[in-house]
């Protein structure tokens, strides 16, 4: 083989790199590295001029390998691989040195150190790249079916977009009905349109859509495979009600003698029966038997619902059903959970009767809620004369959650409006900062101020029922430092609403792990890129949408649901996706058949071929982690693009003496 000819390009990135690293010097120095035939510096490598330079040089200097020293490969590896490909060079003969994120930006006051590090990283890439092999990306077919997990507004939107485009969707929801949190609300900010009026039609569309298989009261148990071909196992829990017979008439839950506090849909304020339909507009309309509380399941007696059901739909023998699905893409839309206000004991929730959470208030004010929409104290009858709404409960607080829950300012304004409108009570909003960010939100804030709500700037330190003055008798006293007046205040009220924050679901970690996505610092799922790729994840074919990605309101959840659907439809229309050819392969001639690798692979991608007595990697299952590569005692497993030779050369290159451009230690 003829000698390799390497081209090296060192990027200034404006001042981002050149402000710290002596870029010109690095480029000149790189000329002295083995096999380098051209080394240049350039203001912006990722700009079209930078890319064209590479393309021209590949042709003019007959380059066989290319190194670009610039930003993180997670930023622009694709860009430069494409440039190489356009000039006829296999994209895997390209390597990147990360001298921005890993050098200039982290050593801003150490020009010499940053420059030396940049040289070492360039040398590593130059030494490595000549060992790189041309690779062909793998193409896999995409199954057109999609799995959506979570039937809140985000999941509903995603499912409808895909189904309306003509492709099949499996929508898995763990509660007996879809709808998510939005189904609990009465009105939605900032327009105050009724939540049910805008949500119910969508839920109905999902329920009746020919392209949607709705699996409620179901959970995903296992996920195998990879983009294009996921195998998903779903457990459909036994409803004890035969959906093909039930008409949703409601006789069973009317007659059921067992009342249970509904902690899900009524936020603990109302009751349901042991056989129940979560709310009147539920989709599907069929009830479920809660076997934890049903007398028949506890004692073997009752069977009331069976007796009264006119269509004999009750079936106490029903078993969980295991359903195996094959899908090409997955969208996670598992939403959020409310911060548990009990964690802040000085706010008295759970101890002081008339302290409510925001979700409880949503149920109070909801016409189909436990009080039929009457805003009353916990006694069920007294209308409050004064109401305090406390913002940022459990949010923007180092002791609980550091993040802003994004919706509480607006929902608190909504509450203020509803309280004033329905009760005429005086309303105090206790806030730290007002953050009505989106279209129409600032206007809504002004509207509520004009309606007469009082705003007190300051973090509430305590809510107490211990009076100090006669006016405070039989009241809840909200204690806070008013930072605008600069003094301590005690505001006596009848009712307190805590605008509790949005948190990741309790099982977010497990769900993330099952689907191969990550959770960030705040516990929400991590997107591939916070700005440029907010609905994709690090796992090809798995997308995220709605409040599972971070606290957000309905408009943003809907937007993400639609965005995730668009990404999925894109791959379906392509019919194929290309995958990184970073895979392991076994040299069967030299495999000793020890089978050590067989059990190491987390994806069971390695089979033992009995006839030949050797192991073989199934490239469709292998994800290229390299665990087997490092373990094979005969060293006969090659990890494409991360081979033994490539990494060894990279180590040798990185240990170059940056002052004399010789290895720190001459090879022995």
């Amino acid at each position: 083989m003829s000698e390799p000819r390497v081209g090296v390009y060192v990027c200034h990135c404006g001042h981002n790199i050149a402000g710290t690293v002596d870029v010109q010097h690095v480029a000149e120095w790189a000329m002295g590295l083995p096999n380098v035939v051209i080394a240049r510096d350039n203001k912006f490598m990722c700009a079209s001029t930078g890319q064209e330079q590479v393309e021209e040089d590949i042709k003019q200097f007959e380059l066989t390998h290319v190194v670009v020293a610039s930003c993180s490969p997670h930023m622009h590896e694709k860009t430069f691989r494409n440039a190489c490909a356009r000039a006829g060079l296999n994209p895997y003969l390209f390597e990147m040195a990360n001298i921005r994120e890993h050098a200039s930006w982290v050593h801003p006051n150490d020009r010499e150190g940053a420059t030396n590090k940049a040289k070492a990283l360039v040398s590593a890439a130059v030494h490595r790249v000549v060992h790189q092999q041309p690779l062909e990306p793998m193409k896999v077919d995409i199954r057109p079916e999609t799995l959506v997990v979570g039937g809140g507004i985000a999941g509903i939107q995603a499912a409808l977009e895909i189904a309306d485009a003509g492709y099949h969707v499996y929508l898995v929801e763990r509660e007996p009905s879809i709808g998510g949190h939005m189904a609990m609300f009465d009105k939605t900010f900032p327009t105050l349109d009724c939540a049910a009026c805008i949500l119910t039609p969508k839920m109905f569309d999902v329920g009746g859509h020919p392209n949607i298989t709705l699996l409620t009261y179901s959970e995903v148990e296992k996920v195998d495979g990879y983009v294009g071909n996921f195998q998903v196992r779903v457990r459909k829990k036994a409803r004890m009600v035969d959906e093909s017979l039930c008409t949703g008439c409601g006789t069973c839950w009317e007659k059921c003698p067992i009342k249970v506090v509904d902690t899900v849909w009524e936020a603990g304020l109302g009751y349901r029966k042991a056989i129940y339909r979560p709310f009147p507009q539920a989709v599907p309309k069929y009830p479920v038997i809660d076997i934890e509380n049903c007398t028949y399941f506890k004692t073997g007696k009752c069977r009331m619902c069976e007796k009264v059901c006119p269509t004999n739909a009750i079936n106490y023998e029903m078993q969980d059903e295991i359903i195996d699905l094959e899908v090409g893409n997955i969208i996670l839309a598992t939403g959020y959970k409310l911060f548990d206000a009990r964690r802040i004991p000085q706010y008295g929730y759970g101890r002081l009767e008339n302290v409510f959470t925001s979700l409880e208030f949503e149920r109070l004010t909801n016409a189909s809620g436990p009080t039929e929409g009457k805003i009353v104290l916990r006694d069920g009858e007294t209308t409050p004369q004064t109401v305090a709404i406390v913002h940022c409960v459990g949010s923007r607080d180092r002791n609980y959650n550091t993040h802003c829950s994004a919706i509480c300012c607006m929902s608190s304004l909504k509450f203020a409006h509803l309280v004033m409108e329905k009760t005429g009570a005086k309303v105090y909003n206790f806030y730290i900062d007002m953050r009505p960010l989106h279209k129409g939100y600032e206007e809504f804030y002004h509207r509520i101020m004009e309606e007469g709500a009082t705003f007190i700037r300051g973090k509430v330190s305590e809510i107490t029922d211990v009076p100090r003055t006669p006016e405070e008798e039989d009241k809840l006293i909200v204690v806070c430092e008013d930072t605008l007046l600069g003094r301590q205040r005690r505001v006596p009220v009848d009712m307190v609403i805590l605008a509790a924050g949005l948190e990741p679901q309790a099982d977010a970690q497990e769900v993330a792990h099952m689907f191969g996505v990550g959770c960030g610092e705040t516990g929400f799922f991590i997107e591939r890129h916070p700005k440029l790729d907010p609905v994709a994840t690090m796992t090809e074919g798995v997308f995220i949408a709605g409040a599972c990605q971070g606290a957000k309101d309905i408009p943003d959840s809907v937007a993400q649901g639609a965005a995730a659907a668009a990404r999925v439809l894109g791959t379906i229309n392509q019919r194929q996706v290309t995958l990184e050819p970073i895979r392991a392969s076994i040299d069967e001639e030299r495999c000793s058949g020890c089978r050590i690798c067989n059990n190491l692979c987390p994806y069971n991608a390695i089979d033992f071929i009995e006839e030949k007595g050797v192991s073989r990697v199934n490239p469709a299952l292998c994800k290229g982690c390299g665990t087997c590569v490092a373990a094979c005692p005969s060293q006969v497993i090659t990890g494409a693009h991360f081979t033994f030779e490539q990494i060894m050369a990279e180590i040798d290159g990185i240990m170059i003496d940056v002052l004399s451009d010789r290895p720190v230690v001459e090879a022995v």
Partner: protein, 155 residues
């Protein structure tokens, strides 16, 4: 490496693509400063870490090696980092027999969101190695070339 009074260690880093490499990227985008002692190499997962890589880096003159991956339970490939933990235990025994201090070869975790943790780890390790001084493998073990053995196997 070599010094006129001040010793700046060279640490070779092996960072997994999914968590710790991204933590390093995040340290960059958030402009968190740390000493320019680390020279990092990206591997897909700490499960790929062949102990030979560590020995090679030391033998080529590194004063320390920092291996970083995803937190246990959060490996992108499910359990590569557990494999790394086991291999690391063995490697540490070998290194101890050669008299190489534990501080010189370390295994740590950082999630993609933990730029601070990444920067702190590098800073702390740099200080520790400064205390120990240069490793100087070639001078201390002139005849000790583990890679030669590996290569023989590999031929």
């Amino acid at each position: 490496m070599s010094d006129n009074g001040t010793f700046t260690p060279v640490i070779v880093g092996f960072l997994c693509n999914w968590c710790s490499y991204r933590a390093a990227d995040l340290a960059g985008t958030s402009r968190m400063g740390y000493p320019a002692t680390l020279r990092d190499i990206r591997i897909m997962c700490t499960g790929r870490l062949d102990p030979t890589f560590v020995l090679r880096a030391l033998q080529k003159g590194a004063d320390g090696v920092l291996i970083m991956g995803c937190h246990p339970g959060q490996c992108h490939y499910q359990e590569g980092n557990y494999k790394a933990i086991r291999r690391f235990a063995l490697l540490r025994r070998t290194l101890r027999q050669l008299g190489i201090e534990d501080e010189r070869v370390q295994l740590h975790w950082a999630s993609a969101a933990e730029g601070v943790r990444f920067a702190e780890t590098v800073a702390r390790m740099t200080e520790q190695i400064k205390q120990l001084g240069p490793l100087d493998w070639p001078r201390n073990w002139p005849n000790e070339d583990p890679y030669a053995v590996e290569e023989a196997v590999h031929e």
